[in-house]
Symmetry: D2
Subunit: 258 residues, 4 copies
């Protein structure tokens, strides 16, 4: 995460960049070879070189060495789990009004992707309290947060949120779980007055149940929405949206404790 | 911005909430009356009461007093200028990889809405350097940032960015201006290696020119996209998307300096 | 509907065209004045003139006289009722596999807009049997179909479709009603083998119930979809989607009797 | 196309239906075997059986025999060429105001899919005059139209439309070609007064040029739009849009000769 270093060092995690569609995060080590379908790259030869150089594969393909930053790591974590997308992560963080110093309860932890993004925004003085019932998920998320150097802003809890939220007067509750409507009442008691709750769900039926429950439970400003991201193929005089598109990720519900 | 206070004090800026569509931010003052089409509210009577109470208007309408938080203020600033929307602000901030400590160049300042959101994320150790050529826009933005208590994270510059960027080795350049393609080269020199550039434009022609220029100027990972936000009318057994929708706000182009 | 006439005659229904957003269908009559907010037009003076001429209002605004064709009438009928839109009408007609000679059951008739479009496609040898329970709706639809000169292809039935469909071996059943799932079984018995059923509904809950019922009732190829129409503001170097958009009209469910 | 026959005959083209995603059109012939990855089906055994029966493959999979209707054939033709989609075909036909008796000029013919849909709607008294410069495309389209029994409503022309349109006073001109803006003037002379022109193009730049040219050439009611089709995965309590979606097919421009 030392993003401003100019020289590639032994042990650096770098981004090996071919084009917009193809790149890898790899660790540079002496004598390490990286195998791709475009040939083999000798990563060791990058040591001591400036970032930005191009390595040639055994098949003659050029690969550029860039510093791997937070966003590169985040995109990779998300791609593996395929549940939550960057666009949703960004808006959820905004709708939960998360900023430096915020104290936030999250459930579930999952891969830790959303956790990590919220952690960058509560740092350095805030905290994410993240609940998860699956030990393997938590272990993986912990590893991801460590790699991203964000662990100190996160408290991992191996606990079923249905049995209660330990924290009081938190600024926000963020839910990415199968039955968010069951947590609406519990969240109410954990939230400070005026605090925000945001939930992410793939089906419209979850939205319906969650919205109904929020209205019954004394929340105000209850909203439901979804973000559709359209990517473009831009070329002089031939610009058009991409033909294949992610048509749906999930719905976002937000409300405010009153 | 004292969001956790429980008792309404003289001088507080509060959110007077009627429903999801209707609410105002008003300053509570002794003997102050607030006029609405639902009757007149005596704001002074809220002083000393707990947040969450309902005030009755002279016409018998109930209005709840909530603490006005950052998001309430941001939504109001954006509603007035109608250029950039929350959804875009959130994703631009993510795609520019802005986080605690980041140094970011923005152009133009406009109303300061995007400035303020980025400021919450670079705080407490980072800085937004925001360029604007119109003095009245800058004055208004300064006022908005002061109200949001975010001024210390922002350096306002009354300067045409076409004449050069003063800062060096910045982490990101964020453009919300009519001719972003003209700044692509200037931004390249200001960005640190691996830094991000993100541009927001309403027309597809601006996107085409900007993408072309980015490709020519040594950037990698050039992407163009747009976010479409669909809001829902949720009601048990009668759920559907809203009939009227904001069909377009603008396109986002992002790339990375190499 | 004499679309190819070149000279405007007394009694012609013409399209008075100002621009893409503003036009009216009016009947040309001797000495008739038409009042608009852009001034008064003397429609009588158009008689004997060629189509395409411009009339001037008393306030000096130009209005072009065009022949009012089927599409002009259809758009006006739809604009008044605001339930079904042209885009949906066109796709429903396709998905129901309606063509010259088809025998089609429709419920309900509503304004007759969808009826009329299907009627143009079954003509001259097919027929639309359209069920409606509200006498006022049927009366209005009859008037609309007469104006469009399509009545001979339509049999209007003032009958609750829940009590049964009189026709047998029809090619398609098209539903635009509140509880389409209740008609799925009745439609099965009216459809010929391989015939198509298409239903249009505003809420996702109606879709869920209808799809479930279709699957239980021996239909195959059950599909649910929606069409989102995005209009563009096209201007050299300033092209973008329109800012305000119809975000939702309704969902279309289609299936095939097996 | 004998859609109402109840008994499967030797030589029938039938739809072999597995599920919504998988089906084939095959010709039933004595002793003919059809090979699929789910095993081999003996098509001959269907002869004399009623439509709707299930055939079992050698691997024990059930396949239903349905009559292949016009829509089945159309979907297959379109799937192969992947240029124009049903949703666009349906709306283009509506916006061109095509109905029984219409005389329509089309360019280019392509696979004949759009030609065939318009042909079903102009029949029995109208005609499609379809221009194509590639002999192989025309030969294929002719074959498709014959199979669909629609040839009598189509006049195929192997001619570059840039050299002129032979027909006069046509009701509509429909363009699905790379440079529609170059035909706008030629189309004007071929159209009857009040006639419609509709163009389909994949890129926004084509739209911009075509709209500009239409405005310059004396057309009115110039509109540009696109249709986005969203399909749904409907399941009780788990309903959501499909994750993968066709994000773009093309833009539709329409106008009227004045």
């Amino acid at each position: 995460m030392e993003e401003t270093a100019r020289v590639i060092s032994d042990g650096d995690e770098v981004l090996l960049y071919v084009n917009e569609k193809k790149s890898w995060i790899v660790k540079v080590e002496k004598e390490k070879k990286f195998h791709t379908h475009r040939g083999i790259v000798d990563l060791g030869q990058a040591i001591g070189q400036p970032y930005g150089i191009e390595l040639m594969t055994t098949m003659g393909a050029a690969m550029r060495v860039l510093p791997a930053d937070y966003l590169d790591h985040l995109e990779r974590i998300m791609r593996k789990t395929q549940v939550i997308y960057p666009k949703d992560t960004a808006l959820i963080t905004m709708l939960a009004n998360i900023k430096s110093g915020s104290r936030v309860v999250e459930c579930g932890t999952g891969s830790g992707a959303l956790t990590s993004y919220m952690a960058t925004h509560v740092s350095p003085s805030g905290k994410i309290f993240t609940y998860e019932i699956r030990e393997d998920f938590q272990a993986n998320a912990k590893k991801n947060l460590e790699k991203l150097k964000l662990s100190e802003y996160v408290e991992f809890k191996l606990k079923d949120i249905m049995t209660g939220i330990d924290e009081k007067e938190v600024d926000a509750v963020v839910l990415d779980m199968a039955t968010p409507w069951q947590v609406v009442g519990i969240a109410y008691n954990a939230l400070r007055f005026g605090g925000r709750i945001v939930s992410f769900s793939p089906t419209i039926n979850q939205v319906e149940k969650t919205v109904e429950e929020l209205r019954k439970s004394g929340y105000v400003n209850v909203k439901a929405l979804e973000l559709i991201m359209r990517t473009y193929k831009v070329k002089l005089n031939e610009t058009r949206p991409d033909m294949v598109m992610v048509g749906h990720t999930g719905y976002i519900v937000s409300a405010r404790r009153c």
